[in-house]
């Protein structure tokens, strides 16, 4: 027995499990759970221009999605998840909402930006969202003081000129829906069609006002196409049940590998645990959302990972049966099995890449998980497990063919 090599093997295993054990609680806490696992509701909107003839550009769609997220935020929803899909869809996922009906109403309403007069209540509406040029608001700096200010373009300069003339030295309040954003004083009659909002704004505040005005002027109408809601307790129950199912499956798979493949089984188990941890870690770092089908895909990718170990272990057994020594069986076995695994993986990955390019929504997510698990699988269940197996074999600790699941009687003379 070569004690040095075996110590190296033990050290690698201890360090690997140490890292896994130390980081897993943090990872599990930071997994983003989908609505089906924590409760909440999901709406898919189709966006249409408010006025006929206008087009829904990707830019406008993205800004509308940002506006929807802002509104959800404003109504107190934590971490609203708003994404655009395809040419004209917006998907909204919200967790922990008390009053769904009301929120849905708020989200769907086009933001109404108004300029109002008549302090202190500002009851008179002077200008509406449709009076402003879309995306016409910009942030500039006042000459001299260099303070940030917001410039707005109006569609009809004459109308604005008349209003500012009438309201000189009076406040003109800017409202988003019923919320007062600011009430700057009109400094004088404005003729060029550009309004300037000044105040003691920081750059961040000025940017926020600009965004609000630009978003408020968006001409997109949102129609609900699909809604789904899951109660919070139901989601937690699903998570618990699926978690238990995954744990049982993992234990059974590891037992199967240990009993059937002995030494390569031990190595496969270590590699499989590392693979699962790595897949979890990368998913968390990529901010991927874990959903029920996601957990299923997760467990399934473990199946593909087991396959790599099985192909290699079977191949090594074949080589041993042909009479080769354990070390040379390991060498030629991993060489031959590597080609098999690569061809199988590239073919599967090819399907994954095409699915990713063509698919949308959950198809894309599925394809991404598939591609990710293929790459990580080659790292852990091919290279890492081969390395571990090498260390064990070179330590001369496991010399009997029985340790590799091969009966002496099966071995042919060379």
């Amino acid at each position: 027995m070569n004690g040095k090599r075996f110590t190296a093997f033990l050290l690698v295993v201890v360090i690997t499990f140490g890292i896994i054990g130390a980081t897993t609680p943090w990872l599990l806490k930071n997994v983003r759970l989908g609505l089906d696992l924590r409760g909440g509701f999901e709406i898919l909107y189709v966006a249409e221009p408010l006025e006929a003839g206008q087009a829904v550009t990707p830019d406008v769609l993205k800004r509308t999605a940002e506006s929807v997220a802002q509104r959800a935020n404003a109504s107190g929803v934590a971490e609203p998840d708003v994404t655009t899909e395809g040419k004209n869809r917006i998907r909204v996922r919200l967790a922990g909402v008390a009053n769904q009906e009301e929120l849905r109403k708020i989200l769907q309403e086009p933001a109404q930006l108004t300029f109002r007069s008549g302090p202190p209540d500002f009851k008179t509406i002077e200008m509406r969202g449709s009076d402003f040029v879309e995306h016409g608001a910009t942030v500039g700096f006042e000459q001299g003081t260099n303070r940030p200010m917001v410039q707005i373009k109006v569609k009809d300069p004459a109308k604005f000129q008349a209003i500012t003339k009438r309201l000189t030295n009076q406040p003109l309040a800017i409202y988003l829906n019923d919320e007062l954003l600011s009430a700057p004083n009109v400094s004088g009659e404005i003729s060029g069609g550009t309004a300037v909002i000044t105040g003691n704004y920081t750059l961040a505040e000025a940017n926020k006002i600009r965004d609000t005005i630009n978003l408020g002027a968006l001409p997109l109408k949102l129609t609900e196409k699909y809604t789904q809601s899951v109660g919070a307790s139901l989601g937690q129950q699903s998570l618990k049940e699926t978690g238990i199912a995954s744990a049982i499956a993992s234990v059974l798979i590891l037992l199967f590998m240990l009993i059937w493949y002995r030494v390569p089984g031990i190595v496969a188990s270590i590699a499989l645990i590392s693979f699962t941890w790595l897949l979890l870690a990368v998913s968390v770092l990529m901010h991927a959302t874990l959903t029920l089908p996601g957990i299923a895909a997760f467990v399934l990718s473990v199946g593909i990972a087991v396959d790599s170990n099985i192909i290699m272990a079977e191949r090594i057994k074949d080589e041993m049966r042909s009479g080769k020594s354990i070390l040379s069986s390991l060498k030629s076995g991993s060489k031959h099995s590597f080609r098999t695994i690569i061809d199988a993986h590239v073919t599967t990955a090819l399907a994954g890449i095409v699915l990713y390019i063509i698919g949308t929504g959950s198809i894309k997510g599925f394809a991404l998980t598939l591609l990710l698990s293929i790459v990580l699988n080659i790292l852990t269940n091919v290279f890492f497990s081969r390395w571990l197996l090498h260390m064990i074999v070179r330590s001369n600790l496991a010399q009997k063919p029985g340790y590799y699941g091969v009966k002496e009687s099966e071995i042919h003379a060379l």
């Binding site: 049940e241 467990v299 590239v346 073919t347 198809i363 599925f366």
Partner: protein, 304 residues
């Protein structure tokens, strides 16, 4: 384990072809007559969830709908005090209909009536299904090209037939047993396709390897080679499907009801995937390859 008793798989290929063709035909007939049992994602319609503020029963609620001129396809009464009426319409109702239904219920139960209306547009789900079909067809082209380069085109054809076979078997089984098809079902089909191609390629890789040193003169030589390759990879084929089946079965038995049908589709697909890799894909390759042998005298050995 070595398999000492080696069943001649390729000689019995016609039986396996017959089984697959039979299931496929039953599937086509079932699909033509009954179609799939589409879940909520694929059925357009409007759902009403009405809280009426007092105990009621199904007959009463049905009457209200009937008097207002509506006939819901399903109608249930539930809630803690039997005060919740749930109605589903297979067609999409507009705002005017919603107001009418609300007015009808208010006329009976007073102002305490509150409604939640959900409208599902099938456009989204159908769009995804169509996209999935396109994606699968496009990826089969990719697979054909890659396998043709790395192996040869005959392997590609055989692999694709077995892949489509597996996807169709699962769709057929869902139609035959009237199981509900929803969005996760599409994910399951995609997973099965990924598994099927992976499973087939490993056997083909062994065939390719054995071909390198083989001297093939007759159909029987070729058949022997295919049989040998299948049996050399048999332990792997079985052990891999066992481990993945363990995972799918655990999800089916212990998992949440939401993924039960997904797991069931996976179980069907895994069994079919392994079956088709061994019993369908390899014999198909054999038949395609046999034409290149040249010696016309070598007639395929027909099972007795």
């Amino acid at each position: 384990m070595r398999y000492n008793f080696k069943f001649d798989i390729v000689r019995h290929r016609r039986k396996f072809f017959a089984v697959s063709i039979a299931i496929t035909l039953i599937g086509i007939v079932m699909l033509a007559i009954f179609n799939l049992n589409y879940g909520v994602d694929f059925r357009a319609g409007t759902n009403f969830d009405i809280t009426v503020g007092q105990a009621t029963d199904q007959a009463k609620a049905a009457d209200i709908f009937k008097n207002a001129g509506y006939d819901p396809s399903t109608l249930t009464v539930g809630g803690t005090n039997n005060d919740r009426v749930t109605a589903r319409f297979d067609k999409v109702l507009g705002q005017a209909d919603e107001t009418k239904v609300q007015a009808a219920f208010k006329a009976v139960y007073g102002d305490k009536v509150s409604m939640e209306v959900n409208t599902v547009d099938t456009e989204i789900a159908r769009d995804l299904a169509v996209k999935a079909i396109y994606a699968v067809l496009a990826s089969t082209i990719g697979i054909v090209i890659y396998v043709s380069i790395r192996f040869e085109w005959r392997f590609a054809i055989a692999a694709i037939i077995s892949l489509l076979h597996d996807a169709f078997i699962v769709v057929s089984l869902f139609s035959i047993f009237r199981l509900e098809v929803d969005l996760p079902f599409i994910a399951a089909i995609l997973t099965i396709i990924g598994y099927s191609i992976n499973d087939t390629i490993v056997i083909f890789d062994r065939v390719r390897e054995n071909l390198r040193f083989a001297k093939l003169k007759t159909f029987d030589d070729l058949a022997e080679l295919v049989n040998r390759s299948i049996w050399q990879t048999m332990t792997r084929s079985i052990n891999t499907v066992i481990t993945v089946l363990i995972a799918a079965l655990c999800l089916f038995i212990f998992g949440s009801p939401a993924i039960r049908l997904f797991s069931l589709a996976m179980i069907f697909g895994l069994v079919s995937g392994t079956y088709s890799s061994v019993f369908i894909a390899s014999p198909i390759w054999l038949l395609l390859k046999n034409r290149t042998l040249g010696s016309k005298a070598a007639k395929p050995a027909v099972e007795k």
